[in-house]
């Protein structure tokens, strides 16, 4: 399997009374009241350092993402971060995973097609093209997308991007939301007809249906841990079976918060405050900023009304021990962590594990020691999973040759 480093680039030094002052991590916190541009410059640099440290330590890929107007993560344009990472890992066996630019809020979406094509060229064909629909707050509040049009724009934009990457002639696009008279993209991606496409989602079945129909990879970005993900992953694999797809685990990626230390007790002690910071301060968003009428299509909305909504959990009422017990964060000694992860990887059939080894207020030294211990003591026990029976068809072709054991971001095998 592939094990990748995911980073949100949060604001790491929020005031202790943030929860009392603001009802939401999104939209309401006013920059000049709590943030500092100099500090944020250092946070961006620390984020890039931590990701490159992870690449050097042996992770298979580096994941960036796009969010707006919040304290929880503000890589407002992930292509900027991806460009730095692509350049700094030039010639290495590291996937550049953009998870990614948000199509519905970018007009015209060929702008993203161009940025991704640039990244694929700069990285030498190592791009994984992630296409999120965008959180409601990001797309419709920060960027003004009409809620009921968010998903229809998304589907049209993705079809346009994929066509623009491989079309052999100049073409006109006369869509419902986008009209472009002459499309002839420069540059085109190295990977043809298109780089692997990963589509993030939180578990709405409409997204999973779309992913399976188009034979892309579904990235389950739940933030609620392996334990809580069984219903969604079971439904996903059922969908695959129903639509005639095979059970290749590389169709499924999963994000998990992880904290490793020498002992279980030590891990709980050092990661507890950062876990609380993440869930109490950063991930908490007022429901009315996320449940905006129209962002879910009708069937998805009915499904959400029928189901147990995860938004019914008030994250601000939970403490570190709750996050550990519920498995939102996998913490412990290397032995504990690898056992929990292996159990989860097998149960959910995870092909790509996206590790959030930085979360909340974690300082860079702690993040790096987490990465280091994880890469030395846990990663080698995961990396062989699935590889003997399945081919990762959702990974850049030039990086697919098996790495030697314990290789750490070495030279690209197949490309050289």
């Amino acid at each position: 399997m592939k094990v990748c480093m995911f980073h949100l680039m949060p604001y790491r030094e929020l005031p202790a009374d943030f929860e009392q002052r603001y009802n939401s991590a999104y939209i309401e916190p006013v920059w000049f009241d709590i943030a500092d541009s100099d500090k944020v410059g250092q946070f961006y640099n620390a984020t890039l350092d931590e990701m490159l440290f992870a690449a050097k330590a042996g992770m298979h890929g580096l994941c960036t993402n796009q969010h707006h107007q919040n304290v929880y993560g503000f890589m407002a344009n992930p292509s900027i971060m991806g460009a730095v990472l692509a350049r700094a890992t030039n010639g290495q066996n590291i996937g550049i995973i953009q998870l990614g630019s948000t199509l519905p809020s970018t007009t015209p979406p060929t702008r993203i097609a161009e940025e991704y094509a640039m990244l694929d060229c700069i990285s030498g064909g190592r791009l994984i093209a992630g296409f999120p629909t965008g959180l409601p707050a990001d797309a419709v509040l920060s960027n003004g997308v009409v809620p009921i049009e968010q998903r229809e724009r998304y589907r049209e934009a993705l079809a346009l991007v994929i066509k623009a990457w491989s079309a052999k002639e100049v073409f006109a696009w006369n869509g419902k939301h986008y009209q472009l008279g002459m499309v002839n993209l420069w540059p085109r991606p190295i990977q043809q007809p298109h780089p692997p496409v990963w589509i993030p989602g939180a578990g709405i079945s409409g997204t999973a249906d779309y992913v399976v129909e188009h034979d892309h990879c579904f990235c389950h970005l739940s933030y609620y841990g392996l334990k809580s993900a069984e219903e969604v992953s079971d439904r996903y694999w059922d969908t695959c079976a129903r639509k005639g797809r095979d059970d290749n685990p590389f169709r499924y990626s999963f994000l998990q918060l992880i904290g490793v230390a020498d002992t279980d007790a030590e891990a709980e002690r050092i990661y507890g405050p950062h876990g609380e910071y993440f869930f109490n301060k950063l991930l908490y968003s007022a429901p009315h900023y996320q449940q905006i009428p129209g962002c879910l299509e009708y069937e998805g909305m009915v499904q959400a009304l029928r189901g147990t909504s995860r938004s019914s959990i008030n994250l601000r009422e939970l403490k570190a021990k709750d996050f550990f017990e519920r498995g939102f964060i996998v913490v412990g000694s290397p032995k504990t962590v690898r056992q929990k992860l292996l159990d989860g990887v097998k149960r959910l059939r995870i092909g790509h594990l996206l590790t959030l080894l930085h979360f909340g207020s974690m300082p860079t030294e702690l993040c790096k020691s987490n990465i280091d211990l994880f890469a030395r003591e846990v990663l080698p026990h995961l990396a062989g999973q699935w590889e003997d029976k399945y081919e990762d068809l959702w990974w850049p072709e030039r990086l697919r040759a098996r790495r030697p054991a314990n290789a750490s971001g070495g030279a690209m095998a197949a490309a050289s």
Binding site: N23, V140, L141, G144, V146, P147, I148, E149, E152, K176, A286, P287, H288, Y289, I292, P293, G294, Y298, M301, V302, L305, R306
Partner: protein
């Protein structure tokens, strides 16, 4: 209360299905519901039917079984032309139009596009204009508490209780919430993210005699906007309603029914 006659139409090259509830007798009056759908307005509509034939269509997308019908309408031009088609199918020549909030804006837009085809116009807390010093609240993005306060002068009163009431039966609960949310989604399509889509450029075309009704405590769009609408519509009359917010027809139903019926007579 007598049940209204419900007629179902396929319109717009058969891409939209809509139900129209028809009740009462007398001159034709079309009621255009607000962002929360037709259901909360039923009792009010029934009272207007005492001396009018009231036609209450469901907004595209809000008729059961056709949630995606609204996707066939791309913008305000489509919306106005669609309603022209609907009125033709109902064989209405020059009906009076009355609407609430988003529905009032829709009524006003139709009256601006086809001034001679609207006999009289009633606008209850319409949206559609904008003043930087009095920004209109986005009613689709409010906490439960803020929404209650914005919609009702008495957020704990009987009208508010009825408006937000959800059935206990699980399936009925899902249906009720789905209708409520989806009505917001479908109507919101035409006014997101700011309910100013150029009506100020067209308002001068409204020529029908017009009554503007406004809840004095409206927390979505301030009563100051009553004068903004009146300034643009020649001869328009304004009635402010005390102890009511954005839904005066539900919170002070007696006063609003009387004002509307008197105006239409």
């Amino acid at each position: 209360m007598a049940n209204p006659e419900v007629r179902r139409f396929k319109l717009w090259q058969d891409r939209i299905q809509t139900e129209v509830e028809i009740s009462g007798s007398g001159p034709p009056l079309v009621w255009l519901h607000g962002p929360w759908g037709l259901n909360p307005d039923r009792a009010f509509v029934e009272r207007l039917a005492s001396d009018n034939t009231v036609y209450a269509p469901r907004f595209p997308g809000t008729t059961r079984g056709d949630p995606d019908g609204v996707r066939a309408l791309v913008g305000w031009l489509d919306l106005a032309v669609y309603h022209g088609e609907l009125f033709n199918r109902l064989e209405l020549e020059a009906p009076a139009l009355a609407g609430h909030s988003f529905g009032a804006l829709l009524a006003a837009e139709i009256a601006a596009v086809t001034p001679k085809l609207v006999r009289r116009l009633v606008l209850i807390d319409p949206v559609g204009l904008w003043r930087d010093d009095q920004p209109v609240k986005n009613w689709m993005v409010l906490s439960d508490k803020a929404r209650r306060r914005a919609l009702f002068a008495d957020p704990d009163g009987e009208a508010a209780r009825r408006f937000f009431e959800v059935p206990k039966d699980p399936e009925e609960r899902v249906n009720t919430l789905a209708q409520f949310n989806w009505s917001l989604a479908c109507t919101g399509k035409f006014v997101w993210p700011i309910a100013d889509r150029g009506f100020k450029n067209r308002i001068h075309r409204v020529s029908a005699p017009t009554l503007i009704v406004w809840g004095n405590a409206d927390g979505i769009i301030a009563p100051a906007y009553a004068q903004e609408f009146a300034k643009g519509i020649s001869g328009a009359r304004v009635e402010l309603v005390d102890n009511a917010a954005h839904l005066p027809h539900l919170e002070q139903s007696d006063a609003v029914v009387k004002a509307v019926l008197d105006f239409l007579r």
